[in-house]
């Protein structure tokens, strides 16, 4: 674990409460510093106009060319981009860091719309493995099914699949909400750390295996609980929150939320709440 010493000369960031300690020793951690103007420039972001709309046919483009083209269009101010013929290609629509309406008329392959921060994405097809991996913010709606590792390491935003999803949904999830209208496979919420998962259908074996924290709500049958995942009583605030989220997701209008099962971490394996703040950093 890194050595920690108190920082007597407080920076503006520390006065804002962003961090209160600095790491020394071998750890090379650089904190965000609002005093440096370049920190307010977000590379690859554009001011776009949602009313400026364009169609982009990617049938003859590979994923790099297609993503470059999307970037070009955003730089020209297009705020609504409709992608035609994605044909299951991998890594389409990744790394978008500004507001944008992105619509895919078809299905995506692996790593679709990964590492995004802000756009609203609608996919009128299916997505392959690791859709929206490491998403920071925004909203992604998939009209059909999704593959495994759906929403892996998601940190924020709403990720919605109206169909069924594969195994390890929300693996390593660190925030945000994942909503699934159909069934989910094995190891849903595997090692999740924060955030919430709502599954309206059935889930497979080892639900919430080795989860650190976070909450999983299941509407159907549960194959089995993973190690350290336990059932917790549903509260009124859970029901109100799910009702609001389902409205955002445009699914489950008549779903009986009160009968859902709430699953949380038993915290026998990992218990962050019992750690001192400095120990948490070391553990992470």
């Amino acid at each position: 674990m890194a050595n920690i010493k108190s920082n007597e000369n407080k920076t503006k960031a520390q006065s804002m409460g962003l961090h209160t300690e600095v790491l020394t020793g071998k750890t090379q951690q650089k904190f965000f510093n609002p005093d440096e103007a370049e920190n307010f420039y977000y590379w690859g972001t554009y001011d776009v106009d949602f009313n400026k709309r364009i169609d982009l046919d990617v049938n003859d483009l590979d994923c790099k060319e297609a993503n470059k083209k999307i970037d070009e269009l955003m730089s020209q101010g297009y705020g609504t981009i409709v992608i035609k013929n994605p044909q299951g290609k991998h890594s389409l629509g990744v790394g978008i860091l500004n507001k944008l309406n992105l619509i895919f008329e078809g299905s995506l392959g692996y790593f679709g719309v990964g590492s995004i921060d802000g756009p609203t994405v609608r996919i009128n097809g299916r997505v392959g493995w690791s859709c929206a991996e490491n998403m920071m913010a925004g909203k992604v709606v998939i009209e059909k099914n999704a593959g495994s590792c759906f929403g892996a390491a998601v940190r924020g935003g709403d990720l919605i699949c109206k169909g069924s999803v594969g195994a390890r949904t929300g693996i390593d999830q660190k925030g945000g909400t994942i909503i699934v209208g159909g069934d989910a496979g094995a190891f849903t919420g595997f090692m999740m750390q924060r955030g919430r998962i709502i599954i309206l259908g059935n889930v497979g074996i080892n639900l919430g295996d080795s989860m650190y924290d976070g909450t999983i709500y299941v509407g159907g049958k549960i194959g089995s609980f993973g190690s350290d995942a336990i059932e917790s009583p549903m509260t009124k605030s859970d029901i109100d929150w799910i009702k609001r989220k389902l409205k955002v997701a445009e699914i489950g209008e008549n779903f009986d939320i009160s009968k859902m099962t709430k699953v949380v971490a038993g915290k026998k394996l990992w218990n962050y709440d019992a750690l001192e703040p400095t120990e948490k950093k070391g553990a992470i």
Partner: protein, 313 residues
């Protein structure tokens, strides 16, 4: 990594050679070392097709030892002599490459004894025996193998194929997929994944008289299923049993004369995308494999953990 693909037309024939090529070519990035096809072709259904090799492809990054091509001809002559002794009547023979042959023949006796005798000849391996199965595997990508063996014109009802990235054994034809379900005619298997109880199972199966030609863990699936079927299990029963009998991570396809099946391990660790309609089932490691033959918008899904499915033609 490896990529697998399969398709079955229900109630009709199609150009499965070209269709499987397109699917495997789309998966080339998953396995550039070798490509294999198991095509269930529109043969007359009366005679056996035996595909065998008398040596290895020593080019294209092969890990095999270089041999003089003259030994291939000697081995081929030994195979011909053995066939005569076994009472098999060769109706047509084709030399496809210096090391591989396709024989059309009549044979009515026990295939296990037949195969043991043929494979007792040094470096000779039967790639497949069947009345509709045409099993072709070689180094190179799907297009290269299709061109080398002239598979573009093959029509049939169903097919499975494999694009291999060599991880557990060498870059050679004997370790390439698909594997024939020795000694059953018309049975083939492709696999994506790793099996961790290979040696335990191999020792048990070898004691029961089953044969292994390579040290590739995937061959175990073909032998495992063949042994189950030899003892009276149906294909589906054998596949369901394999979910607990095989340890590791896997998605595999198995095909017989009139059916195609898939199985996924209980961890669902390996990918599979499936498209199912009344007249066609197509599946592959990635959606782009299916899109290569069905470019219009379709509904596909990932089968869940521990799922086994079998379709008939």
């Amino acid at each position: 990594m490896c990529g697998i693909a399969g398709l079955i037309h229900r109630g009709k024939s199609s150009n499965v050679g070209n269709e499987l090529q397109a699917m495997l070519q789309a998966l080339k990035h998953r396995g550039p070392d070798s490509t294999g096809y198991a095509l269930y072709a529109d043969n007359n259904g009366e005679n056996f097709i035996m595909r065998f090799k008398v040596g290895e492809n020593v080019g294209e990054g092969s890990s095999s030892i270089n041999e003089d091509e003259s030994v291939y001809d000697k081995r081929k002559e030994l195979v011909d002599d053995m066939l005569k002794n076994l009472g098999a009547k060769v109706l047509k023979e084709e030399k496809l490459t210096p090391y591989s042959y396709r024989y059309e023949m009549k044979y009515d006796d026990d295939l296990m004894n037949f195969s043991k005798k043929i494979e007792s000849i040094e470096s000779v391996e039967i790639l497949s025996i069947g009345k509709s199965l045409e099993l072709i595997k070689d180094l190179g990508d799907a297009q290269a193998v299709l061109d080398r063996y002239d598979l573009g014109k093959v029509t049939g009802t169903h097919a499975i194929g494999h694009a291999r990235m060599a991880t557990e054994s060498g870059v050679d034809i004997k370790s390439a997929h698909p594997f024939w379900g020795y000694p059953f005619s018309d049975v083939s298997v492709v696999h994506n994944g790793q099996l961790t109880n290979y040696w335990n199972n191999r020792r048990v199966l070898e004691n029961k008289g089953m044969r292994f030609m390579s040290e590739c863990d995937s061959e175990l699936i073909a032998v495992y299923l063949a042994e189950k079927m030899r003892n009276g299990a149906t294909l589906e029963e054998g596949m369901k049993d394999s979910l607990s009998g095989l340890d590791g991570v896997f998605t595999y396809f198995v095909a017989t004369k009139d059916s195609l099946g898939m199985a996924k391990d209980t961890m669902a660790a390996k990918p599979l995308v499936l498209y199912e309609s009344d007249d066609l089932v197509a599946m592959g490691s990635e959606e782009i494999a299916i899109r290569s033959i069905l470019p219009h918008e379709i509904d596909t899904y990932d089968p869940f953990d521990g799922e086994v499915k079998v379709w008939q033609i």
